[in-house]
């Protein structure tokens, strides 16, 4: 009889064994996820520094490969972000759960997991180390390293320090990985385009494996304000987080602990709350029993007198910037309709969130998108490209809204953009591609779309009117020459000159309305 063997696994090991849940399920999807994670880290790094991001992405094939479906690619991403201090580089790129993001404010990633996952995926598929160069403004540190998966730490093969004459600041990373570019090409370009839509202040350059250059140029250098870090709201805390806070924060009693470590908790709130949780105010936090902690956490969900969560930790794109981004990437003209709405902050389960939505329609959309609804979904400025049908945004746009109210028919070309920002996006899976239907979120998304769609009605009416007037003037242009022609034939004379009459009714838009005034219409047959 053999004993089962127990062994603990490191976080790196855990993610190595479960890489599909982080979006590395197959070569094409892994290519996409790796690019996405690296680009998002770069954007965050530049935004933190308050400079408009400049991102360079290159994917190239390793030379002399057999003609197989999956190939080895070199992924290179450069940015102008904060740069990573040399002493942190091994941990940031070689250790799971290490990063600058473990605090409560809106950010693209959460735990700094993605970048390391990309490195790890490259390592396990190609056995090649990762190359990293970074500078925080001083010298450039170059690393060649890989991850010791079992021990969750970096193996550094080479560390060189170079002069930095151009004062470059930022990070460049190069990963070799097994991938499948041909299958993911369109998604990848779509991802970059949509990123450019919600990050209109970023310049993104992309050179693909076939050497083609894609440039997504910024439409503005204005950036939305950075989110502030805030204390967690009591509603959103769970038992594990609470335990960790107790372990790391000093406080002489539970009342002070509540007041110091959570937002919106003053002396009176703390007292009333503890009374409800049946915990003495004097209790030392470290003396709380596990049962006490569970009771406290459960009570945070029941106590309804907490203030609403603070929204300064959120950073919506803003109506102006979002409009700039959408207009730029969809190549809208003045003849198209666009309305962007940024809603007031709202909360679900103790997490603050803000919904932004845009509704776009017009001739350009008909040409580029065809008829019907096209949805662009974003969460914390990340485009969501997969599993559209299962998300809350799809539901709001397709099920909750009666489009007829806005004069929108099923064949009206319509683009709907929805951006949800929150300290915690209610993703349904670690893959982060679609959001669960929290009722508060669903309601806000629906209202945001409705608000943005409100102006469509007027736009449609105006367009119908212009079209009608254009038709009307075309009628004159069509019939006057005929009248001239046949009256001349009837009278057996040379065709008369009708230029003057035609000039009175020429169908030049936008002069239409003015011209119409010059051509008064006789409405009824007048009797005499």
């Amino acid at each position: 009889m053999s004993q089962p063997e127990y062994q603990s696994i490191s976080p790196s090991d855990f993610f190595y064994r479960n890489r599909e849940i982080a979006g590395f399920s197959n070569p094409s999807r892994a290519t996409y996820t790796a690019v996405r994670e690296l680009i998002e880290n770069s954007l965050d790094a530049a935004e933190t520094r308050l400079v408009p991001p400049e991102i360079y992405l290159r994917i190239s094939e390793v030379a002399d490969q057999k003609d197989t479906e999956t190939k080895i690619y070199i992924l290179r991403v450069e940015d102008n972000g904060t740069g990573v201090p040399a002493e942190h580089v091994p941990k940031v790129f070689g250790q799971v759960f290490y990063g600058s993001k473990y605090e409560l404010k809106q950010a693209r990633g959460t735990f700094g997991l993605g970048g390391t996952m990309a490195v790890m995926y490259g390592q396990i598929t190609t056995h090649e180390p990762v190359k990293i160069a970074s500078s925080t403004g001083g010298k450039i540190h170059e690393f060649v390293m890989n991850i010791d998966i079992q021990n969750n730490r970096a193996n550094i093969f080479k560390h060189t320090v170079k002069e930095n004459p151009t004062k470059w600041r930022g990070t460049a990373i190069e990963i070799q990985m097994d991938g499948d570019y041909s299958r993911i090409m369109y998604r990848l370009i779509e991802y970059l385009k949509q990123t450019a839509m919600v990050v209109p202040y970023a310049d993104i350059t992309y050179v693909d494996p076939r050497g083609r250059l894609y440039k997504f140029e910024r439409g503005t250098t204005k950036m939305p304000p950075l989110p502030e870090s805030v204390l967690p709201h009591p509603h959103g805390v769970d038992v594990e987080t609470f335990k960790r806070l107790i372990a790391t924060k000093k406080a002489k009693n539970i009342k002070d602990f509540m007041m110091d470590n959570f937002q919106g908790v003053g002396a009176i709130t703390a007292e009333r709350f503890l009374e409800m949780a049946e915990i003495s105010q004097k209790t030392k936090p470290k003396k709380l029993t596990p049962e006490d902690i569970v009771r406290i956490v459960r009570t945070t969900k029941e106590y309804n007198k907490f203030k609403r969560p603070i929204a300064s930790c959120l950073s919506p794109i803003g109506e102006e910037l979002l409009e700039t981004g959408i207009t730029k990437e969809l190549a809208l003209t003045e003849e198209d309709y666009i309305k962007v709405v940024t809603r007031k902050p709202s909360t679900y389960l103790g997490y603050p969130f803000i919904v932004e939505a845009a509704v776009v329609t017009g001739r350009t959309i008909r040409k580029t998108h065809g008829s019907g609804i096209t949805l662009y979904r974003f969460a914390n400025r990340i485009p969501l490209l997969f599993d559209e049908g299962s998300g809350v945004i799809w539901k709001a746009a397709n099920k909750n809204i009666n489009w007829k109210t806005y004069r929108i028919e099923s064949d009206t070309p319509l683009v709907i953009v929805v951006h949800i920002c929150s300290t915690k996006i209610p993703y349904k899976s670690v893959g982060k591609e679609f959001m669960a239907d929290q009722p508060e979120v669903e309601k806000e998304v629906t209202n945001a779309i409705r608000e943005a769609a409100r102006g469509v009605r007027g736009f449609m009416s105006r367009r119908h009117r212009i079209a009608r007037e254009k038709r009307r003037l075309n009628i004159f242009n069509k019939f006057l020459p005929k009248i001239a022609e046949f009256s001349a034939r009837l009278a057996e004379r040379e065709p008369p000159n009708i230029d003057k009459l035609l000039s009175l009714v020429s169908a030049d838009i936008p002069e239409v309305e003015k011209k119409l005034e010059e051509v008064p219409e006789i409405v009824e047959e007048s009797s005499e």
């Binding site: 019939f479 005929k482 001349a488 009837l490 009278a491 057996e492 000159n497 047959e525 009797s527």
Partner: protein
């Protein structure tokens, strides 16, 4: 005719030359401008005039169509060709931007041109589809191109001669007939020809094939006016038959702008409501629609005369109607041998 059309062309032309949106004046054909003139015993257009103006978005298309139709008519007249309503409609379809959505629209514009010129469309060589015919001792001389001077006697054709542009434009040379007998249906017309009714009654026979076309009414009028022949009309005893007779006698609202189509002296000789009773004719009950139509006719000014009011009342009273063919119960020749002689005697 040619001159009227050229004049219309000049009118429009000059307006355009003066940099005005062209327009024309014409009598309104709307129903409230059609009035019954008891003196001449037919419908006429009232005094109301309308302007059809090319500056009006709703007028410009029919205006253009009117000018085109005028040009088309002029082509017909100068080339001495004839056309039909249907052909005119299809000719317009060959013209970009002129085309009609259906023939009714085209027919309407042709009527507008009649009003604008104050002339019947036959004068500018547009004819309705031919379906009525004429038979009897009438010698005519054709004037249509290719047949000029050729003569024929209408008894030469036992099926009757179609009343088309050629007959309409022909000269009537001589006739021995002393009356005109108008019949509503082709079958009865054939029966009468077969029974030599034209000889027996010394009559010209005309069958209208339902509501008589204008050219047929014009010929009836002409035979009455020029040769002083009395006209007798013989139709079904139902609201539709009555009205076929009435349109020959007093004209239609649609042709209120024209003269020379009505024959007020024509007599309706049957089948009368009283005949149904007197001759014990096989009948059918009136339908709801018949009822409605009879009441409409009672209110129509053309039926003001006590004779007509009484005939309408009889039908409403007995609630029955009878067709010409009903006389066949007494044998195929009864109508010629017995009924018509009795009627014409009266």
């Amino acid at each position: 005719m040619e001159r009227s059309l050229t004049q219309l062309g000049n009118l429009i032309y000059d307006q355009i030359n003066n940099q005005e949106f062209p327009w024309i004046h014409m009598q309104s054909r709307s129903t409230d401008n059609i009035v019954y003139d008891a003196n001449i015993r037919q419908y006429v257009l009232g005094p109301r005039m309308i302007r059809r103006h090319s500056r009006n978005i709703r007028h410009i298309r029919p205006f253009t169509q009117l000018i085109w139709t005028a040009w088309f008519a002029k082509e017909l007249v100068t080339q001495r060709k004839t056309s039909t309503l249907r052909e005119t409609y299809y000719s317009a379809r060959g013209q970009r931007d002129i085309e009609y959505s259906d023939q009714t629209e085209s027919d309407n514009i042709i009527t507008d041109l009649e009003v604008a010129l104050n002339r019947a469309r036959e004068e500018f060589n547009i004819f309705p589809a031919e379906r009525s015919s004429i038979f009897g001792d009438l010698t005519i001389e054709y004037t249509v191109p290719g047949y000029e001077g050729r003569r024929t006697n209408l008894t030469d054709h036992p099926d009757g001669v179609m009343i088309g542009p050629a007959i309409t434009s022909s000269e009537f040379l001589e006739t021995t007939a002393d009356k005109v007998l108008v019949i509503e249906k082709g079958a009865m017309f054939n029966r009468l020809v077969e029974e030599r009714a034209h000889e027996k009654f010394n009559a010209l026979l005309i069958q209208t094939a339902g509501q008589s076309p204008r050219s047929t009414r014009a010929i009836i009028n002409r035979l009455h006016e020029d040769y002083d022949l009395p006209v007798y009309i013989f139709t079904d005893a139902d609201p539709w038959g009555l009205h076929i007779a009435m349109v020959i006698i007093s004209g239609s609202a649609n042709a209120a702008h024209l003269r020379g189509l009505a024959t007020p002296d024509a007599k309706w000789i049957g089948v009368l409501g009283s005949d149904i009773v007197n001759y014990k004719l096989p009948t059918e009950p009136l339908t709801e629609y018949d009822h409605k139509r009879l009441h409409e006719l009672k209110a129509d000014p053309r039926y003001d005369d006590p004779f007509w009011q009484e005939e309408l009342d009889i039908l409403l009273e007995i609630e029955q109607k009878a067709e010409l063919e009903a006389f066949s119960r007494y044998g195929l020749t009864y109508i010629v041998d017995e009924y018509l002689p009795a009627k014409l005697q009266q």
